[in-house]
Amino acid sequence: MDVTQSSKSPSDWTEIDSSYRFPTLFLASKAVAWLLLGSIFSLIASIKMHSPSFLASCPWVTYGVMIPAALNAVVYGFALQGAFAALLWITMRLGQVKLVGPGYLFIGSALWNIGVLLGVIGIMAGHGSGHTYLEMPGFVSPILFAAYTLIGGIALVTFHKRQVRELYPSQWFIFAALYWFPWILTAGSYLLVMSPVRGVTQMIIGGWYASGLNVIVLGFVGIAIIQYMLPKLTKRDLHNGYLSLFSFWIIMLFGGFTGLLPGQSLPSWVGSLSAVCSVFVAFAWLVLAYNIYRTIGGVSGKSGGLSYKFIYFSAAAGLLSAVLTAWASRASVADVIQFTLFLPGLKWLHLYGFVGMGLLGCIHYFLPKITGIEWSRPAQWTAIFWTYAIGTSLVGIAFLVGGWKHGKGLIDPETPFMDVVREGIAPFVRMSTVGELLVFVAAALLCWNVTTLFCRTYCSCLCLGGLSQNKAGTSSETKKSQPKKSSKNK
């Protein structure tokens, strides 16, 4: 249960970290590249809402493909790929074990990126399937699945070989996410894209997939990061493992069916069930938040540094999105916000606010540890944090508030539709464009920083006589930062 203690000597840590150096750098740099691409796509989509003729003559960038292309780039390229990097690192750290088979991991991540690239190109070429989160054309799923088998397999084998047998709560969450993902990916893409079921069952299965992906797979990795990083950064112990266990079970049982708003064309139990599930998940999040609060209560934010800010923001956004999802599933609220901008608002809060922020915090924290090279421009990271945080909040607020106005207009038949557009949609979309621009700037800076780090690590390895000797190389490089590391972290 203790992340702050360790029986390992600093040089063991260096060995563990360096086993993971290039695979992680690869995963992390590709992840931020996808974030950049996704933010460009959503920016284009957003601009199209102000001027219908913007880039109109090209079918590849029409609004209806930019939205799913952005979503898929961010979900599969950034969030899932970043999640792989983070969960592997946490698994190795908590298990005090070296990465098994870095070569396979490398092949797996290359394959994953090829899959996502083909998928996004497929969507842009007009082969999107039309099911949110599963828009990628059918032939991509097997590629993603094969890639995942390698990546997830390595994570599981590494987990299995851990030297510290006792499990820390973060490990449960990671383990469950690792098993959950291939399951929903195969079931979802088989039943929706490859051999589709008939009629509205498609919507129900689509909702199950979306919820499993967001709340369980990405959500669990996000929670694992929060529960691992916050105690570590504040040098405290997690307040109570049983509370974590409780949340773990609740979210695992009910998280697969949240957020499907009661649509009347679906059987009525679907709406009621998803409302109940959303409330359970929100409750589990409140318990989690209490646990975290008891863990880090009274710590001043400064002591944890910038990473602490990232993770703190992530936890707050995660809690807010779970609570808002539960609130939005109440029948009286759902009637208003159904079919409005509120839903993309929740999506932003969850994906960019909670998952994205957590991953960036992780990347900021562990890349220097793993490579033994500090960020060359720490000030840029402060800038990344603020632009990303402000941008994400701006988009989230614009969509959530706008969604409410949008919905109020829609349910009042006296308001002509164009008035709803003028007052409930257009101004908020304009506000969100500014936010998306900020996220784009943050992503560009991020890409630049991670890529530079990648190059510097690569060069320093070359200088030190090639990859074969990188073990020796790392320990000499990291000597300076070692004392700090061993006292502050494990």
Partner: protein
């Protein structure tokens, strides 16, 4: 929970439960839905979409219209119109009962209704009122019936005569119900906007027909070409800032025509068991013979 195998087992159980509850159950409940005979149209419903509208569905999917348009109509409840179907023999009694049912009617109006039955007595009342009026007319010789009318903001906006139900999507592949209403609902767009040219102009550039529209333009579904020997009959009638250069004309591609055909095929034009409403075939006078719920 500190053991790997225990963890594995619990994840497996949760996964199985989630799968059974959320995937298997809906599939068992809805998976073998099939077409149904609807007496109002004397045909099985739904019918598979035919002709180029099938391709239009594909264009709709590829262009991602679903990111801004839903195809599902909501309904919050029903109201009823009460109709005197048969005045019976005791016209005086029935006339006074009609006046009792609707206090706003003058003697003359009430007598008109009774003389010209079937005629509507009251509009837009609740189920309770229907019951009490049915009770009123009991044993009077006059017969009343209640016509069902769905209500709700979507229906009041004219986006459809009734709510959509699962059956409506049986042959859609993929089902594009959508979750965003940046634009109006399209489940019944073929009924309210039946003009092919309007749709073509709207797709070419929405602002040609709707001022300040924020819907994107789809010029790539059209071909701008030089006018040949004589102007093509298919050319769009574009004016002002949207007009092509001198000597050029804008022709819809087969995709655009298919898409418009698909949009015109989006119609809700008869009741189904789950979502009844008054069905108007052609003449309004036929109202009464169709979907009615006898109040007695």
């Amino acid at each position: 929970m500190n053991q790997g195998p225990l963890l594995f087992l619990s994840v497996l159980c949760a996964m199985a439960a989630s799968w059974m509850g959320f995937v298997l159950m809906p599939q068992v409940q809805l998976g073998n839905q099939s077409t149904r005979l609807v007496k109002e149209i004397g045909r099985h419903y739904p019918a598979e979409r035919g002709g180029i509208a099938v391709k239009g569905h594909d264009v709709y999917r590829a262009a991602g219209c679903v990111s801004c348009h839903t195809q599902q109509v909501r309904q919050s409840g029903f109201i009823f119109d009460i109709v005197l179907t048969d005045a019976g023999d005791f016209t005086d009694l029935v006339t006074s009962l009609v006046q009792q049912a609707n206090g706003d009617l003058s003697d003359q109006q009430a007598a008109d209704i009774v003389a010209n039955a079937p005629k509507t007595i009251l509009e837009g009342v609740s189920k309770q009122t229907v019951d009490s009026i049915a009770f009123l007319f009991k044993d009077s010789g006059g017969k009343v019936a209640a016509n069902i009318r769905p209500t709700g903001p979507d229906i009041d906006r004219g986006w459809g005569p009734r709510q959509t139900v699962g059956l409506d999507y049986l042959f859609d592949e993929p089902v594009l119900m959508g979750s965003q209403r940046i634009g109006p609902d399209l489940a019944d767009v073929g009924s309210r906007l039946a003009d092919r040219n309007w749709h073509l102009l709207h797709l070419y550039h929405p602002r040609t027909v709707v001022e300040k529209s924020i819907m994107p333009a789809y010029p790539y579904l059209f071909e701008t070409r030089e006018i040949g020997d004589s102007p093509s009959p298919d050319a769009l009638a574009l004016k002002g800032e949207f007009a092509p250069e001198e000597g050029m004309e804008v022709i819809p591609t087969p995709e655009a025509n298919a898409l418009v055909e698909y949009l015109l095929s989006l119609r809700i034009f008869h009741p189904v068991f789950e979502a009844p409403y008054i069905f108007t075939q052609a003449e309004p006078s036929e109202n009464i013979d169709s979907e009615m719920e006898p109040a007695e």
